[in-house]
Symmetry: C2
Subunit: 338 residues, 2 copies
């Protein structure tokens, strides 16, 4: 089979790879229905994160189970399944309290930008849909594998409640789905920080009530102004840089909640500054597995349509083009069809 | 009158100062029943925080109201009152959600190691006891002005619940009262980190179930071992150094709660490390005012005895000795009687 492999900065190749097989008795092998490019794939693509060796890319996936290992009990061939980028046993103490992305036996899932994928710890990781989905639901179901689960975690970790005033830093797919999540959780006011017309439009479709185009200190001043000098109850940091983190912290009200869901790159928080900000801070790799059953139901019942973040759809063999469009911010998120 | 004034590193003088008077119509002037030395007074005392000019010391206080400004409505002369180190109006949006120590009109209270003290924003800041307290209650009531309120905030911000497993980093008065607070909130297991016999003893009296004497990575390893490889549900960081902060974060379970309540000195948190720790982090200057009514009731009804942290009692004119004993860790906390 052929799949995407990253060789170094801006060098994604679509090339022959071995077809994944069952390695451990707890594995499943699935045939990918759709895959996509993640914002976090852009860190190594841009060379900000080094690529030590040619690396099969992709960690967002959904598809049909082809085969399971002999220890797999609940997942069966023929099911349509979705899983997280971190495989988890879903039974250890960390999974038990809902932090499956810190499972004591977690394994990274990789190589999903390909027709076939091996998923470890299949019983703990994969969740089956009620039936084989109709074609039009697949983009939205695919988002549950990472980007939508991450946006949902951002809103949850920022304590969004009915009536909350929410600010979202970052207009990538995660930020936009953070807007959608905050809306679902009953936020009254959702301020999206964005300076791109197409992203602003999608943010409004997903429930944003206000758009702030300023960044850094000016962005903070605008949020404070919009909230009568108080700051937002909940701030979702969906970028991962020093500037975005400080923008988020300073946009929060005292005693407010700041979440951060993208791996921080070069972020250092000054203890004293954080202390006097008085915020609650929570984040980390999103425990997507925790949310999968509820989010599948919301998509299945057509209550949410997170698949709208895919504004570019390409056949898998054009994966390099998919990266390029996202890197240059012409596309929000690229869907890839094997 | 004579009061404590800090001139520079280890130079506390007991000297003539002007008697405080009503300055603004919202002020009260109180006659101090008892004052004390705070762990945070040791930062400037040790020269870690510079002293730009001679500074009247002391911010923990309780006493009898002598006079109030003409705009003061609820506080009356003759009442026994307790207030926080941050005066607050208790009406602004930050106060309204319980973060009075970030009041939009907050003012630092200073100069309480003296017989008379001016307290700004008296109506918002001071809380009166049901009656004039008996002498033996005064040490415990005094702790509510800062150290006990701070220990309580540490436990609250670390989400201590009935049944929780709690670790407390720091065996100063705040850490010890964090133990007492966690016990009151129903924690099942309370691990105090301490290597001083007298502090270990008090920690046990306050409810600690385990003592860990190791520090740094070894301390973390011990907490992880004691919690079956999982980490504590709640960790109270009551020191404010880089080592204690990392010890706290690494002692937490994934998805656990870490609070920090002492002004951090030289602390820098690496974003990526914090991200993968998966903790909830919350802290800042304790909103003591929020807790005052409930804590006064607990002391008044003799349900808690936080005054036990005072293991040295001196007349006010020996204040310099009080600092010295705490600095050299011979005393946990010094009570000063004018």
């Amino acid at each position: 089979m052929r799949g995407a492999v990253l060789y170094g900065p801006r060098d994604v190749r679509f090339e022959e790879r071995e077809v994944p097989k069952i390695v451990k008795p707890t594995d499943a092998v699935i045939r990918i229905s759709s895959a996509c490019v993640c914002g976090s794939d852009l860190w190594p693509y841009r060379g900000i994160q080094p690529t030590a060796q040619p690396t099969p890319m992709g960690h967002e996936y959904c598809g049909i189970v082809e085969e399971v290992g002999r220890a797999v009990k609940s997942i069966k061939p023929g099911q349509f399944v979705i899983g997280s980028f971190f495989a988890s046993d879903n039974t250890c103490p960390n999974c038990h309290i809902g932090y499956q992305s810190s499972c004591q036996h977690r394994e990274l899932v990789g190589g999903a930008q390909a027709p076939v994928l091996r998923v470890p710890l299949a019983d703990g990781t994969l969740v089956a849909t009620p039936d084989i989905p109709s074609e039009d639901l697949i983009p939205s179901l695919l988002t549950l594998s990472d980007v939508m689960g991450t946006g949902w975690f951002a809103a949850d970790a920022a304590n969004v409640k009915p009536g909350s005033t929410v600010a979202v830093v970052g207009d990538g797919a995660v930020g936009l789905l953070g807007v959608l999540s905050a809306k679902q959780m009953g936020a009254k006011r959702i301020i999206a920080m964005s300076r791109h017309a197409s992203r602003q439009k999608l943010a409004r479709e997903f429930g944003a009530t206000d758009i702030v185009t300023e960044r850094g200190d000016e962005g903070v001043a605008r949020i404070v102004e919009l909230t009568n000098g108080v700051g937002a109850d909940s701030v979702l940091e969906c970028v991962g840089t020093q500037e975005s983190m400080m923008q988020a912290i300073n946009s929060s009200r005292k005693g407010g909640y700041v979440s951060y869901v993208g791996v921080p790159h070069g972020v250092e928080l000054n203890g004293e500054e954080l202390f006097f900000s008085h915020v609650h801070l929570h984040g980390g790799p999103a425990p997507v597995r925790r949310y999968l059953p509820d989010l599948i139901k919301l998509v299945w019942d057509r209550k949410i349509d997170p698949g709208k973040v895919f504004d570019l759809k390409l056949p898998l063999d054009q994966v390099a083009e998919g990266y390029r469009e996202m890197d240059e911010r012409r596309a929000i998120k690229t869907l890839l069809s094997p």
